[in-house]
Protein backbone atom coordinates (compact mmCIF):
# COMPACT_ATOMS: atom_id res chain seq x y z
CA UNK A 1 0.00 0.00 0.00
CA UNK A 2 1.93 3.03 -1.25
CA UNK A 3 -0.49 5.92 -1.30
CA UNK A 4 -2.18 5.34 2.03
CA UNK A 5 -3.88 8.31 3.67
CA UNK A 6 -2.60 9.41 7.05
CA UNK A 7 -5.69 9.76 9.19
CA UNK A 8 -3.65 10.99 12.17
CA UNK A 9 -2.52 14.18 10.45
CA UNK A 10 -3.61 17.62 11.66
CA UNK A 11 -5.79 18.34 8.68
CA UNK A 12 -7.92 15.29 9.39
CA UNK A 13 -8.13 16.02 13.10
CA UNK A 14 -9.44 19.51 12.47
CA UNK A 15 -11.79 18.37 9.73
CA UNK A 16 -14.88 18.50 11.90
CA UNK A 17 -14.25 22.06 13.10
CA UNK A 18 -13.55 23.19 9.57
CA UNK A 19 -16.72 21.61 8.30
CA UNK A 20 -18.82 23.25 11.03
CA UNK A 21 -17.30 26.60 10.19
CA UNK A 22 -18.06 26.16 6.49
CA UNK A 23 -21.67 25.29 7.21
CA UNK A 24 -22.09 28.29 9.54
CA UNK A 25 -20.61 30.65 6.95
CA UNK A 26 -22.87 29.39 4.21
CA UNK A 27 -25.97 29.88 6.38
CA UNK A 28 -25.16 33.49 7.34
CA UNK A 29 -26.95 35.22 4.46
CA UNK A 30 -29.79 32.78 4.15
CA UNK A 31 -32.46 34.04 6.51
CA UNK A 32 -35.91 33.50 5.04
CA UNK A 33 -38.06 36.62 4.98
CA UNK A 34 -41.82 36.32 5.32
CA UNK A 35 -43.38 36.15 1.92
CA UNK A 36 -47.07 36.63 1.17
CA UNK A 37 -47.32 33.81 -1.31
CA UNK A 38 -45.42 31.34 0.84
CA UNK A 39 -47.36 32.09 4.00
CA UNK A 40 -50.66 31.49 2.22
CA UNK A 41 -49.38 28.28 0.68
CA UNK A 42 -48.21 26.99 4.04
CA UNK A 43 -51.69 27.60 5.47
CA UNK A 44 -53.19 25.67 2.63
CA UNK A 45 -50.81 22.75 2.99
CA UNK A 46 -51.39 22.63 6.74
CA UNK A 47 -55.10 22.34 6.03
CA UNK A 48 -54.89 19.47 3.60
CA UNK A 49 -51.71 17.86 4.80
CA UNK A 50 -53.35 15.81 7.53
CA UNK A 51 -55.52 13.80 5.20
CA UNK A 52 -53.38 14.05 2.11
CA UNK A 53 -50.24 12.81 3.80
CA UNK A 54 -52.15 10.05 5.49
CA UNK A 55 -53.70 8.98 2.20
CA UNK A 56 -50.45 8.99 0.30
CA UNK A 57 -48.57 7.26 3.09
CA UNK A 58 -51.19 4.58 3.20
CA UNK A 59 -51.16 3.76 -0.46
CA UNK A 60 -47.45 3.57 -1.02
CA UNK A 61 -45.99 1.32 1.62
CA UNK A 62 -42.54 0.52 0.30
CA UNK A 63 -40.89 -2.46 1.95
CA UNK A 64 -37.19 -2.84 2.55
CA UNK A 65 -35.52 -5.98 1.32
CA UNK A 66 -34.06 -7.51 4.43
CA UNK A 67 -34.09 -11.20 3.76
CA UNK A 68 -32.20 -13.29 6.26
CA UNK A 69 -33.33 -16.89 5.93
CA UNK A 70 -36.15 -19.16 4.81
CA UNK A 71 -38.91 -16.60 5.16
CA UNK A 72 -37.19 -14.33 2.64
CA UNK A 73 -38.01 -16.90 -0.05
CA UNK A 74 -41.67 -16.41 0.76
CA UNK A 75 -41.02 -12.67 0.73
CA UNK A 76 -39.76 -12.96 -2.84
CA UNK A 77 -42.86 -14.99 -3.69
CA UNK A 78 -44.88 -12.09 -2.28
CA UNK A 79 -43.39 -9.82 -4.92
CA UNK A 80 -43.68 -12.33 -7.75
CA UNK A 81 -46.41 -13.03 -10.23
CA UNK A 82 -48.83 -15.17 -8.23
CA UNK A 83 -49.43 -12.66 -5.43
CA UNK A 84 -48.38 -9.47 -7.25
CA UNK A 85 -47.98 -7.06 -4.36
CA UNK A 86 -47.67 -4.07 -6.65
CA UNK A 87 -51.37 -3.91 -7.31
CA UNK A 88 -51.88 -2.62 -3.76
CA UNK A 89 -49.08 -0.08 -3.90
CA UNK A 90 -46.52 -2.07 -1.91
CA UNK A 91 -44.14 -1.97 -4.87
CA UNK A 92 -41.07 -4.11 -5.24
CA UNK A 93 -38.46 -4.41 -2.60
CA UNK A 94 -36.00 -1.58 -2.36
CA UNK A 95 -32.37 -2.33 -1.80
CA UNK A 96 -31.62 0.86 0.12
CA UNK A 97 -33.26 1.71 3.44
CA UNK A 98 -33.48 5.39 2.57
CA UNK A 99 -36.38 4.81 0.17
CA UNK A 100 -38.41 2.58 2.45
CA UNK A 101 -41.28 2.89 4.90
CA UNK A 102 -41.52 -0.57 6.33
CA UNK A 103 -38.84 -3.07 7.27
CA UNK A 104 -39.74 -6.72 6.86
CA UNK A 105 -37.49 -8.81 9.07
CA UNK A 106 -37.77 -12.32 7.70
CA UNK A 107 -35.68 -14.97 9.35
CA UNK A 108 -33.71 -15.69 12.47
CA UNK A 109 -31.58 -12.87 13.87
CA UNK A 110 -28.16 -13.90 15.10
CA UNK A 111 -26.07 -11.95 17.54
CA UNK A 112 -23.64 -10.91 14.83
CA UNK A 113 -26.31 -9.36 12.62
CA UNK A 114 -27.91 -7.16 15.32
CA UNK A 115 -25.61 -4.14 14.72
CA UNK A 116 -26.43 -4.25 11.01
CA UNK A 117 -30.13 -4.57 11.78
CA UNK A 118 -30.04 -1.49 13.99
CA UNK A 119 -28.04 0.42 11.44
CA UNK A 120 -30.50 -0.36 8.66
CA UNK A 121 -33.36 0.76 10.89
CA UNK A 122 -31.64 4.02 11.76
CA UNK A 123 -31.05 4.78 8.08
CA UNK A 124 -34.76 4.60 7.26
CA UNK A 125 -36.66 7.87 7.01
CA UNK A 126 -39.38 8.56 9.57
CA UNK A 127 -42.12 7.43 9.94
CA UNK A 128 -40.81 3.88 9.83
CA UNK A 129 -42.44 0.60 10.70
CA UNK A 130 -41.27 -2.91 11.36
CA UNK A 131 -43.01 -6.19 10.55
CA UNK A 132 -41.68 -9.35 12.18
CA UNK A 133 -42.29 -12.03 9.57
CA UNK A 134 -42.23 -15.60 10.73
CA UNK A 135 -41.69 -17.44 13.98
CA UNK A 136 -37.96 -16.76 14.26
CA UNK A 137 -38.33 -12.98 14.01
CA UNK A 138 -41.34 -13.05 16.31
CA UNK A 139 -40.00 -15.09 19.21
CA UNK A 140 -36.99 -17.15 18.18
CA UNK A 141 -39.14 -19.99 16.91
CA UNK A 142 -37.42 -23.36 16.74
CA UNK A 143 -34.10 -21.81 17.70
CA UNK A 144 -35.33 -20.86 21.16
CA UNK A 145 -32.59 -22.92 22.79
CA UNK A 146 -29.83 -21.89 20.41
CA UNK A 147 -26.87 -19.99 21.81
CA UNK A 148 -26.57 -17.59 18.89
CA UNK A 149 -30.14 -16.49 18.14
CA UNK A 150 -32.03 -13.67 19.87
CA UNK A 151 -35.54 -14.52 20.93
CA UNK A 152 -37.49 -12.17 18.72
CA UNK A 153 -36.48 -8.87 17.16
CA UNK A 154 -38.68 -6.92 19.60
CA UNK A 155 -35.68 -7.08 21.91
CA UNK A 156 -33.85 -4.63 19.64
CA UNK A 157 -36.49 -2.90 17.48
CA UNK A 158 -40.05 -1.67 18.01
CA UNK A 159 -42.33 -4.06 16.12
CA UNK A 160 -45.68 -3.00 14.65
CA UNK A 161 -47.10 -6.24 13.25
CA UNK A 162 -46.19 -9.85 13.99
CA UNK A 163 -46.83 -12.61 11.46
CA UNK A 164 -46.93 -16.15 12.79
CA UNK A 165 -46.09 -19.27 10.82
CA UNK A 166 -43.06 -21.24 9.79
CA UNK A 167 -42.87 -19.89 7.17
CA UNK A 168 -46.05 -17.84 6.82
CA UNK A 169 -47.64 -18.02 3.41
CA UNK A 170 -47.14 -14.99 1.16
CA UNK A 171 -50.84 -14.21 1.58
CA UNK A 172 -50.23 -13.71 5.30
CA UNK A 173 -47.80 -10.92 4.52
CA UNK A 174 -50.50 -9.28 2.47
CA UNK A 175 -52.75 -9.43 5.51
CA UNK A 176 -49.98 -8.05 7.72
CA UNK A 177 -49.38 -5.02 5.52
CA UNK A 178 -53.11 -4.38 5.39
CA UNK A 179 -53.11 -4.44 9.20
CA UNK A 180 -50.30 -1.91 9.14
CA UNK A 181 -52.35 0.29 6.80
CA UNK A 182 -55.22 0.15 9.26
CA UNK A 183 -52.81 1.21 11.98
CA UNK A 184 -51.73 4.15 9.86
CA UNK A 185 -55.36 5.23 9.87
CA UNK A 186 -56.37 4.85 6.28
CA UNK A 187 -59.29 3.02 4.80
CA UNK A 188 -58.31 -0.35 3.39
CA UNK A 189 -60.22 -2.19 0.73
CA UNK A 190 -60.30 -5.88 1.47
Amino acid sequence: MDNEIDYESAEFKNAKQEMDKLVADSLKNREVRPNVLFSKLSDLTKMVSGDLVKWSRNNSVWPLQFGLACCSIELMDFGSSRIDAERKGYLLFRATPRQCDVMLVAGWVTKSIIPELKRMYEQMARPRYVIAFGECATCGGPWWESYNIIKGIDQVLPVDVYVAGCPPRPENLFGAIMKLQKKLGGAVED
Partner: protein
Protein backbone atom coordinates in the same frame (compact mmCIF):
# COMPACT_ATOMS: atom_id res chain seq x y z
CA UNK B 1 -0.41 -0.73 -8.41
CA UNK B 2 -2.26 -0.12 -5.17
CA UNK B 3 -4.85 -2.60 -4.03
CA UNK B 4 -8.22 -1.22 -3.03
CA UNK B 5 -10.37 -3.11 -0.57
CA UNK B 6 -14.11 -3.01 -1.15
CA UNK B 7 -16.62 -4.30 1.34
CA UNK B 8 -19.74 -6.04 0.03
CA UNK B 9 -22.52 -6.93 2.42
CA UNK B 10 -23.38 -8.45 4.86
CA UNK B 11 -26.79 -7.27 3.70
CA UNK B 12 -26.71 -7.01 -0.05
CA UNK B 13 -29.41 -7.84 -2.59
CA UNK B 14 -27.16 -10.14 -4.60
CA UNK B 15 -25.61 -12.24 -1.87
CA UNK B 16 -28.63 -14.57 -1.52
CA UNK B 17 -28.57 -14.34 2.22
CA UNK B 18 -26.22 -12.73 4.67
CA UNK B 19 -22.68 -12.99 3.36
CA UNK B 20 -19.90 -10.45 3.69
CA UNK B 21 -17.22 -10.28 1.03
CA UNK B 22 -14.05 -8.25 1.23
CA UNK B 23 -12.90 -7.82 -2.36
CA UNK B 24 -9.32 -6.78 -3.11
CA UNK B 25 -9.36 -4.82 -6.34
CA UNK B 26 -6.48 -3.97 -8.62
CA UNK B 27 -8.11 -1.28 -10.71
CA UNK B 28 -11.29 -3.01 -11.78
CA UNK B 29 -9.79 -6.50 -11.65
CA UNK B 30 -10.36 -8.78 -8.73
CA UNK B 31 -7.13 -9.77 -6.99
CA UNK B 32 -8.66 -11.68 -4.11
CA UNK B 33 -12.03 -12.36 -2.49
CA UNK B 34 -12.33 -13.02 1.24
CA UNK B 35 -15.72 -14.39 2.27
CA UNK B 36 -16.71 -13.71 5.87
CA UNK B 37 -19.40 -16.14 6.98
CA UNK B 38 -21.24 -16.93 10.17
CA UNK B 39 -24.04 -14.38 10.14
CA UNK B 40 -26.67 -17.12 10.05
CA UNK B 41 -24.98 -19.59 12.41
CA UNK B 42 -27.45 -21.12 14.82
CA UNK B 43 -25.80 -24.34 15.92
CA UNK B 44 -28.03 -26.99 14.37
CA UNK B 45 -25.56 -29.76 15.02
CA UNK B 46 -25.48 -28.91 18.73
CA UNK B 47 -29.26 -28.52 19.03
CA UNK B 48 -29.85 -31.92 17.48
CA UNK B 49 -27.74 -33.57 20.16
CA UNK B 50 -30.32 -32.67 22.81
CA UNK B 51 -33.28 -34.01 20.81
CA UNK B 52 -34.71 -37.45 20.18
CA UNK B 53 -34.34 -38.88 16.68
CA UNK B 54 -37.78 -37.94 15.43
CA UNK B 55 -37.74 -34.43 16.89
CA UNK B 56 -34.99 -33.21 14.59
CA UNK B 57 -36.83 -33.13 11.25
CA UNK B 58 -37.77 -29.44 11.33
CA UNK B 59 -34.18 -28.46 12.14
CA UNK B 60 -32.88 -30.49 9.25
CA UNK B 61 -35.29 -28.92 6.77
CA UNK B 62 -34.13 -25.42 7.67
CA UNK B 63 -30.52 -26.22 6.79
CA UNK B 64 -31.20 -25.90 3.07
CA UNK B 65 -34.38 -23.91 2.73
CA UNK B 66 -34.35 -23.94 -1.06
CA UNK B 67 -34.72 -27.71 -1.12
CA UNK B 68 -35.86 -28.71 2.38
CA UNK B 69 -37.00 -32.19 1.52
CA UNK B 70 -33.60 -33.30 0.27
CA UNK B 71 -31.90 -32.61 3.62
CA UNK B 72 -34.78 -34.18 5.51
CA UNK B 73 -34.40 -37.24 3.31
CA UNK B 74 -30.67 -37.33 4.03
CA UNK B 75 -31.28 -37.23 7.78
CA UNK B 76 -33.92 -39.95 7.66
CA UNK B 77 -31.65 -42.13 5.52
CA UNK B 78 -28.86 -41.69 8.05
CA UNK B 79 -31.10 -42.78 10.91
CA UNK B 80 -32.47 -45.64 8.81
CA UNK B 81 -28.95 -46.85 8.12
CA UNK B 82 -28.08 -46.67 11.80
CA UNK B 83 -31.18 -48.68 12.76
CA UNK B 84 -31.12 -50.95 9.70
CA UNK B 85 -34.69 -50.17 8.70
CA UNK B 86 -35.82 -51.20 5.22
CA UNK B 87 -37.71 -48.74 3.04
CA UNK B 88 -40.60 -50.31 1.13
CA UNK B 89 -40.37 -50.22 -2.64
CA UNK B 90 -43.35 -47.94 -3.15
CA UNK B 91 -41.96 -45.51 -0.58
CA UNK B 92 -38.68 -45.42 -2.51
CA UNK B 93 -40.48 -44.51 -5.73
CA UNK B 94 -42.58 -41.85 -4.00
CA UNK B 95 -39.47 -40.38 -2.41
CA UNK B 96 -37.75 -40.19 -5.78
CA UNK B 97 -40.74 -38.40 -7.32
CA UNK B 98 -40.97 -35.87 -4.50
CA UNK B 99 -37.23 -35.27 -4.37
CA UNK B 100 -37.02 -34.66 -8.10
CA UNK B 101 -39.97 -32.26 -7.91
CA UNK B 102 -38.09 -30.48 -5.16
CA UNK B 103 -35.01 -30.32 -7.37
CA UNK B 104 -37.04 -28.80 -10.19
CA UNK B 105 -38.45 -26.16 -7.83
CA UNK B 106 -34.97 -25.32 -6.53
CA UNK B 107 -33.45 -25.00 -10.02
CA UNK B 108 -36.36 -22.90 -11.29
CA UNK B 109 -35.78 -20.47 -8.45
CA UNK B 110 -32.12 -20.33 -9.40
CA UNK B 111 -32.86 -19.66 -13.07
CA UNK B 112 -35.05 -16.76 -12.00
CA UNK B 113 -32.54 -15.27 -9.61
CA UNK B 114 -29.41 -15.57 -11.77
CA UNK B 115 -30.92 -13.16 -14.30
CA UNK B 116 -31.62 -10.77 -11.44
CA UNK B 117 -27.94 -10.95 -10.52
CA UNK B 118 -26.99 -10.06 -14.07
CA UNK B 119 -29.16 -6.96 -13.96
CA UNK B 120 -32.00 -8.27 -16.08
CA UNK B 121 -34.52 -7.32 -13.47
CA UNK B 122 -37.63 -9.29 -12.69
CA UNK B 123 -38.88 -10.70 -16.02
CA UNK B 124 -37.22 -14.09 -15.68
CA UNK B 125 -37.64 -13.83 -11.93
CA UNK B 126 -41.42 -13.71 -12.42
CA UNK B 127 -41.30 -16.60 -14.89
CA UNK B 128 -39.20 -18.75 -12.61
CA UNK B 129 -41.42 -18.08 -9.63
CA UNK B 130 -44.59 -18.80 -11.59
CA UNK B 131 -43.36 -22.25 -12.55
CA UNK B 132 -41.83 -22.88 -9.14
CA UNK B 133 -45.16 -22.13 -7.52
CA UNK B 134 -46.78 -24.86 -9.61
CA UNK B 135 -44.19 -27.38 -8.42
CA UNK B 136 -44.74 -26.24 -4.84
CA UNK B 137 -48.50 -26.67 -5.26
CA UNK B 138 -47.95 -30.26 -6.28
CA UNK B 139 -45.75 -30.83 -3.26
CA UNK B 140 -48.38 -29.17 -1.10
CA UNK B 141 -51.07 -31.55 -2.31
CA UNK B 142 -48.75 -34.46 -1.59
CA UNK B 143 -47.51 -33.38 1.84
CA UNK B 144 -49.78 -30.67 3.23
CA UNK B 145 -47.26 -27.84 3.58
CA UNK B 146 -45.91 -25.33 1.15
CA UNK B 147 -42.28 -25.04 2.12
CA UNK B 148 -41.32 -27.19 5.11
CA UNK B 149 -42.91 -30.56 4.63
CA UNK B 150 -41.67 -32.83 7.46
CA UNK B 151 -42.96 -35.66 5.33
CA UNK B 152 -40.25 -38.26 5.81
CA UNK B 153 -40.61 -40.97 8.43
CA UNK B 154 -38.47 -43.97 9.27
CA UNK B 155 -39.08 -46.58 6.59
CA UNK B 156 -41.37 -44.49 4.43
CA UNK B 157 -43.41 -41.32 4.44
CA UNK B 158 -45.91 -39.59 6.68
CA UNK B 159 -48.56 -39.83 3.97
CA UNK B 160 -48.83 -41.51 0.62
CA UNK B 161 -49.34 -39.41 -2.49
CA UNK B 162 -53.04 -38.66 -3.01
CA UNK B 163 -55.19 -39.97 -5.86
CA UNK B 164 -54.76 -38.09 -9.10
CA UNK B 165 -51.33 -36.79 -8.08
CA UNK B 166 -49.65 -38.66 -10.92
CA UNK B 167 -51.90 -37.18 -13.61
CA UNK B 168 -51.48 -33.65 -12.27
CA UNK B 169 -47.72 -34.08 -12.13
CA UNK B 170 -47.59 -35.32 -15.71
CA UNK B 171 -49.66 -32.32 -16.81
CA UNK B 172 -47.24 -30.01 -15.02
CA UNK B 173 -44.25 -31.72 -16.62
CA UNK B 174 -45.71 -31.29 -20.12
CA UNK B 175 -46.29 -27.63 -19.38
CA UNK B 176 -42.79 -27.20 -17.94
CA UNK B 177 -41.16 -28.71 -21.03
CA UNK B 178 -42.86 -26.11 -23.18
CA UNK B 179 -41.81 -23.39 -20.77
CA UNK B 180 -38.19 -24.55 -20.89
CA UNK B 181 -38.18 -23.99 -24.67
CA UNK B 182 -39.36 -20.44 -24.01
CA UNK B 183 -36.64 -19.94 -21.41
CA UNK B 184 -34.12 -21.08 -23.97
CA UNK B 185 -35.38 -18.60 -26.53
CA UNK B 186 -35.47 -15.79 -24.03
CA UNK B 187 -32.29 -16.37 -22.05
CA UNK B 188 -29.81 -18.45 -24.01
CA UNK B 189 -30.34 -16.58 -27.27
CA UNK B 190 -29.82 -13.24 -25.57
CA UNK B 191 -26.43 -11.80 -26.62
CA UNK B 192 -26.03 -9.79 -23.40
CA UNK B 193 -26.59 -12.90 -21.31
CA UNK B 194 -24.02 -14.81 -23.35
CA UNK B 195 -21.49 -12.00 -23.02
CA UNK B 196 -21.90 -11.86 -19.27
CA UNK B 197 -21.68 -15.63 -18.87
CA UNK B 198 -19.39 -17.12 -21.49
CA UNK B 199 -15.72 -17.67 -20.52
CA UNK B 200 -16.24 -15.98 -17.16
CA UNK B 201 -15.49 -17.63 -13.86
CA UNK B 202 -13.78 -20.54 -15.58
CA UNK B 203 -12.61 -23.41 -13.44
CA UNK B 204 -10.69 -26.28 -14.96
CA UNK B 205 -11.19 -29.98 -14.34
CA UNK B 206 -8.12 -30.42 -12.14
CA UNK B 207 -8.82 -27.25 -10.17
CA UNK B 208 -12.38 -28.36 -9.54
CA UNK B 209 -11.15 -31.72 -8.27
CA UNK B 210 -8.52 -30.08 -6.06
CA UNK B 211 -10.98 -27.64 -4.50
CA UNK B 212 -13.44 -30.40 -3.68
CA UNK B 213 -16.44 -28.70 -5.23
CA UNK B 214 -19.45 -30.87 -6.02
CA UNK B 215 -22.71 -30.59 -7.85
CA UNK B 216 -23.15 -28.61 -11.00
CA UNK B 217 -19.89 -26.71 -10.44
CA UNK B 218 -18.00 -29.98 -10.70
CA UNK B 219 -20.10 -31.49 -13.48
CA UNK B 220 -19.87 -28.34 -15.60
CA UNK B 221 -16.06 -28.73 -15.49
CA UNK B 222 -16.11 -32.14 -17.12
CA UNK B 223 -16.10 -34.50 -14.14
CA UNK B 224 -18.83 -37.09 -14.26
CA UNK B 225 -19.63 -37.40 -10.57
CA UNK B 226 -23.20 -37.62 -9.37
CA UNK B 227 -24.12 -39.57 -6.25
CA UNK B 228 -27.29 -40.74 -7.97
CA UNK B 229 -25.11 -42.48 -10.59
CA UNK B 230 -21.86 -43.30 -8.81
CA UNK B 231 -23.36 -44.54 -5.56
CA UNK B 232 -27.03 -45.10 -6.41
CA UNK B 233 -29.61 -44.96 -3.67
CA UNK B 234 -33.34 -45.71 -3.76
CA UNK B 235 -34.35 -46.73 -7.29
CA UNK B 236 -32.16 -44.41 -9.33
CA UNK B 237 -30.30 -47.36 -10.86
CA UNK B 238 -33.57 -48.79 -12.19
CA UNK B 239 -34.53 -45.53 -13.88
CA UNK B 240 -31.37 -45.46 -16.06
CA UNK B 241 -30.34 -42.01 -14.98
CA UNK B 242 -27.54 -40.16 -16.76
CA UNK B 243 -25.75 -37.26 -15.10
CA UNK B 244 -25.42 -33.99 -17.00
CA UNK B 245 -21.74 -33.40 -17.76
CA UNK B 246 -20.43 -30.35 -19.60
CA UNK B 247 -16.85 -29.46 -20.45
CA UNK B 248 -16.42 -25.67 -20.53
CA UNK B 249 -16.42 -24.97 -16.80
CA UNK B 250 -17.56 -21.36 -17.12
CA UNK B 251 -20.68 -19.56 -15.97
CA UNK B 252 -22.65 -20.53 -19.05
CA UNK B 253 -21.84 -24.21 -18.57
CA UNK B 254 -23.08 -24.06 -14.98
CA UNK B 255 -26.28 -22.42 -16.19
CA UNK B 256 -26.77 -25.07 -18.86
CA UNK B 257 -26.03 -27.86 -16.38
CA UNK B 258 -28.88 -26.71 -14.17
CA UNK B 259 -31.37 -26.30 -17.01
CA UNK B 260 -30.45 -29.69 -18.45
CA UNK B 261 -30.82 -31.17 -14.99
CA UNK B 262 -34.40 -29.94 -14.88
CA UNK B 263 -35.01 -31.89 -18.09
CA UNK B 264 -33.30 -34.94 -16.60
CA UNK B 265 -35.54 -34.65 -13.54
CA UNK B 266 -38.61 -34.46 -15.77
CA UNK B 267 -37.55 -37.72 -17.44
CA UNK B 268 -36.89 -39.35 -14.04
CA UNK B 269 -40.30 -38.38 -12.65
CA UNK B 270 -42.07 -39.70 -15.76
CA UNK B 271 -40.28 -43.03 -15.50
CA UNK B 272 -40.81 -43.31 -11.74
CA UNK B 273 -44.52 -42.56 -12.04
CA UNK B 274 -44.83 -45.17 -14.81
CA UNK B 275 -43.05 -47.86 -12.81
CA UNK B 276 -44.56 -47.08 -9.41
CA UNK B 277 -45.72 -50.30 -7.71
CA UNK B 278 -48.71 -50.73 -5.43
CA UNK B 279 -48.12 -51.26 -1.77
CA UNK B 280 -47.64 -49.48 1.49
CA UNK B 281 -45.59 -46.29 1.46
CA UNK B 282 -46.22 -45.27 5.06
CA UNK B 283 -43.38 -45.19 7.54
CA UNK B 284 -43.33 -45.63 11.28
CA UNK B 285 -45.43 -43.24 13.34
CA UNK B 286 -43.56 -40.69 15.42
CA UNK B 287 -42.60 -42.20 18.75
CA UNK B 288 -40.18 -40.97 21.32
CA UNK B 289 -38.86 -44.51 21.84
CA UNK B 290 -37.10 -45.46 18.64
CA UNK B 291 -35.92 -48.88 17.47
CA UNK B 292 -32.47 -49.91 18.73
CA UNK B 293 -29.42 -48.46 17.03
CA UNK B 294 -27.45 -51.25 15.33
CA UNK B 295 -24.67 -49.33 13.61
CA UNK B 296 -23.26 -46.74 15.96
CA UNK B 297 -21.25 -44.75 13.41
CA UNK B 298 -22.79 -44.15 9.99
CA UNK B 299 -22.32 -41.68 7.18
CA UNK B 300 -24.63 -41.21 4.21
CA UNK B 301 -24.35 -38.93 1.22
CA UNK B 302 -27.06 -37.71 -1.10
CA UNK B 303 -27.15 -35.59 -4.23
CA UNK B 304 -28.68 -32.32 -3.10
CA UNK B 305 -29.74 -29.79 -5.78
CA UNK B 306 -26.55 -27.92 -4.87
CA UNK B 307 -24.09 -30.77 -4.62
CA UNK B 308 -23.14 -33.71 -2.49
CA UNK B 309 -24.47 -33.34 1.03
CA UNK B 310 -23.12 -35.77 3.56
CA UNK B 311 -24.14 -36.60 7.09
CA UNK B 312 -22.01 -38.35 9.70
CA UNK B 313 -23.75 -39.58 12.80
CA UNK B 314 -22.68 -41.26 16.01
CA UNK B 315 -25.84 -42.71 17.46
CA UNK B 316 -27.05 -43.18 21.01
CA UNK B 317 -30.22 -45.09 22.01
CA UNK B 318 -32.23 -41.90 22.45
CA UNK B 319 -30.82 -39.46 19.93
CA UNK B 320 -27.68 -38.59 18.00
CA UNK B 321 -24.58 -38.32 20.16
CA UNK B 322 -22.89 -36.29 17.44
CA UNK B 323 -24.13 -35.20 14.04
CA UNK B 324 -21.87 -33.58 11.49
CA UNK B 325 -22.89 -32.23 8.12
CA UNK B 326 -20.78 -31.73 5.02
CA UNK B 327 -22.50 -28.81 3.34
CA UNK B 328 -21.95 -28.59 -0.44
CA UNK B 329 -22.37 -24.82 -0.57
CA UNK B 330 -19.73 -24.25 2.11
CA UNK B 331 -17.12 -25.99 0.00
CA UNK B 332 -18.37 -24.41 -3.23
CA UNK B 333 -18.06 -21.00 -1.58
CA UNK B 334 -14.39 -21.67 -0.82
CA UNK B 335 -13.84 -21.96 -4.58
CA UNK B 336 -15.17 -18.45 -5.18
CA UNK B 337 -11.75 -16.90 -4.60
CA UNK B 338 -10.16 -19.03 -7.34
CA UNK B 339 -12.98 -18.48 -9.77
CA UNK B 340 -13.25 -14.73 -9.35
CA UNK B 341 -9.52 -13.85 -9.57
CA UNK B 342 -8.68 -11.96 -12.73
CA UNK B 343 -12.28 -11.17 -13.58
CA UNK B 344 -13.95 -7.77 -13.47
CA UNK B 345 -15.67 -6.61 -10.30
CA UNK B 346 -19.04 -6.46 -12.08
CA UNK B 347 -18.79 -10.17 -12.85
CA UNK B 348 -18.33 -11.15 -9.21
CA UNK B 349 -22.05 -11.50 -8.61
CA UNK B 350 -22.55 -13.46 -11.80
CA UNK B 351 -19.90 -15.92 -10.64
CA UNK B 352 -21.30 -16.06 -7.13
CA UNK B 353 -24.79 -16.55 -8.51
CA UNK B 354 -23.75 -19.61 -10.48
CA UNK B 355 -22.47 -21.24 -7.27
CA UNK B 356 -26.10 -21.27 -6.06
CA UNK B 357 -25.30 -20.39 -2.47
CA UNK B 358 -27.69 -20.92 0.41
CA UNK B 359 -26.16 -19.17 3.37
CA UNK B 360 -28.09 -21.17 5.95
CA UNK B 361 -26.42 -24.26 4.51
CA UNK B 362 -22.98 -22.62 4.70
CA UNK B 363 -23.30 -21.42 8.29
CA UNK B 364 -25.50 -24.15 9.78
Amino acid sequence: MAITKVNVGPIHPSTHGVLRLVVHLDGDTIAKVEPHIGFLHRGVEKLVETRMYMQSHPYMEKIDYMAPMSVDDLYVSTVEKAMEIEVSERAQYVRVVLLELQRIASHLFWVGSICNDLGQLFTTFMWGFRDRDMALRLLETATGQRMFYVNMRLGGLARDIPEGFGDETLKFLDYLEKRLREYEKFIEKNPIFIQRMKDIGRISRSEALDLGVTGQVLRASGVSYDVRKNNPYYVYDKLDFNPVVLQQGDNLARYRARVLEIEESIRLIRKALGKMPEGNALGMPVKLVSPPVKNRIVSVSRENPRGEEMMYMVGDPQGPYRLSIRAPTFINLSALDYMARGNRFADLFAIMGTLDLVMADVDR
